[in-house]
Symmetry: C2
Subunit: 346 residues, 2 copies
């Protein structure tokens, strides 16, 4: 009799183990994750007032998105509304707080993706749209296109009723001063004909001028994932540079079958490594967890010399927010409404 009971008990224990592993009762289920950019964010350079200001906006953004999800709203709506809060704050390099290009303009990029349909929309290099994430959503929903750029994107936004502002709306003293410092550095560097790759290596290009993008990923009660990213690009940007933020697959990706991702960092590395889609591919094709996939792809970026971070949220509510810079403004809310906000490394 004992011989029969032993395998039965073993089977029972295995089954219970599997159930426990599937439910992972000790693991939090997140519904919305945000970032406000990665970079040289160190505690010694921060005042407690500034810290509190960042934490306040990050918290408000998370509450906004959570409220929509709790009411049964769509992940896409939560992503858009959450990013509005970050775009409307002068603290982040997106919309209101966007950095200045070399010629003293604010050129904004944004993209959004619906994990349910794989529909996506993006705008690049727009100068008079108050909330670029809303313009990106309009491209997705009201055109047959995915990516619109420059004046054409602005004309489209106007035609479909997206709120426009005078470009002066994006003026902030801090960002203007940052441009003046960058221009001064430029004039003491080798001039415009320099190989900027060399300049970056030599440290004459300020790597931190690239950071500050905002992003959001969300999972709604219907199991739909969505992702969005919005940025002012890099200080002293030239030549109509487009970074990873408006590039679907690089800075933004969402697929209900796997994960929603939004990136921030040195955009060129994120484009070359197709970061957001690579995380989804590792999860779908190699069954990696969201933490494993995010870590693996961040390692590729780091090995190539790039830095930054990302947020990722899978279809089960597991999330990752890795970064290889000193800090990343970030936060998450679980399905019970518990909010976590962080700035520095753990």
């Amino acid at each position: 009799m004992k011989k029969m009971i032993t395998p039965f008990i073993t089977l029972l224990l295995c089954t219970l183990g599997l159930i426990a592993r599937q439910q992972e009762p000790n693991r939090k289920q997140y519904t919305l994750v945000i970032h406000g950019g990665a970079g040289t964010i160190v505690k010694t350079a921060m005042t407690s007032a500034k810290e509190a200001a960042y934490e306040e906006v990050l918290t408000k953004a998370l509450q906004t998105g959570y409220h929509i999800l709790q009411e049964g709203g769509a992940a896409l709506d939560a992503v858009e509304a959450t990013i509005h809060v970050l775009e409307d704050s002068p603290l982040f390099n997106a919309a209101k707080g966007a950095v200045f290009t070399n010629n003293g303009r604010n050129e904004l990029d944004a993209s959004i993706m619906d994990g349910r349909t794989l529909n996506a929309g993006a705008v690049a290099g727009v100068t008079n749209i108050r909330n670029p994430i809303t313009a990106a959503r309009a491209v997705m929903e009201k055109s047959e296109h995915v990516m619109l750029s420059g004046k054409g994107a602005e004309n489209f936004a106007q035609q479909v009723g997206v709120t426009l502002v005078d470009p002066s709306y994006f003026y902030t003293q801090d960002r203007w001063d940052a441009l003046q410092r960058a221009l001064k550095k430029d004039s003491t560097a080798a001039g415009e004909n320099v190989d900027n790759r060399q300049a970056a290596k030599a440290g004459t290009v300020n790597r931190d001028d690239k950071f500050g993008t905002v992003g959001c990923v969300a999972l709604d009660q219907q199991g739909n994932l969505a992702a969005g990213t919005s940025t002012g690009g890099m200080t002293n940007k030239k030549f109509g540079r487009i970074g990873d933020s408006p590039v679907i697959g690089a800075g933004t990706y969402a697929n209900n079958e796997s994960v929603a991702v939004s990136c921030t960092g040195w955009g060129e590395f994120y484009i070359r490594h197709v970061v957001a889609h690579d995380i989804a591919a590792l999860m779908s094709y190699k069954q990696l967890s969201v933490e494993e996939a995010a870590a693996a792809v961040m390692a590729k970026v780091a090995n190539a010399g790039g830095d930054g971070g990302l947020i990722a949220l899978d279809k089960a509510g597991n999330m990752a927010m890795p970064f290889n810079t000193e800090g990343m403004y970030r936060g998450a809310v679980d399905r019970h409404g518990n909010i976590e906000v962080k700035i520095y490394k753990d």
Copy 2:
């Protein structure tokens, strides 16, 4: 004794089988593959003179690339030189033969990627660069950026010595007439405020106006892969639309570890499905062959309602050139210099 010989023979046969499989002696090893766009290309609508003209340029393009590779040149050089031949021909929708935008301009996009380093470069919406693929390569090699757009990209190209032309260089009667037909169709349609997605479904947007991109993938004697794509976009294009051609991961991708890919077709679907990178991911993460991966991703595009084609060449010289349209201008050359050129379905 027999007992010892049998496993020995089995092992020997297995080893020989493995060697045969690795060498695949009956399988051609390709070094360079090109496309000149996919679309409604049917034999009944083609004259033999037109057919011969297409075949002549495709053959010349393949010979140009093959010559470079045979001499020990780099895949990247072969891709650039091959695409020059296609860009300089008025037959294809790239550079010289580019279609016109809604406002009567020619706006060109191109990208290139080096599978050895994962470096990449792209230009979007340029109007005065004779060979956009060369501008894309200049972005990759002479800037710290990946993607430059519009006037800024043109200024960069001028600074680094890329050949500029007067925009009138891109005027061809055929393309101008195509725009006039599209504009006429527009004025009889619901006007600019229409939901273009509905218009596409209703057939009031000519799907074929999206096609005609050129591309090339190459494998050099050092085992390096490279990919490039160049396009004039879509006839009657509005709003500064950016398609998949200048988007790394969507229209172009190369990675020595797996494959080089260049796409042509309804760009929006190629962006949403991150087509070029998805093929590489299926090969790297699921060990699919290039044919299997290309077919799987083309099926995703088709299931979503998109059409077009692509070319893919793996690190062993295996290639695929699937398409789900009536035809695709395409060709390949193997390592012995044998050239294949095709237009219609097999």
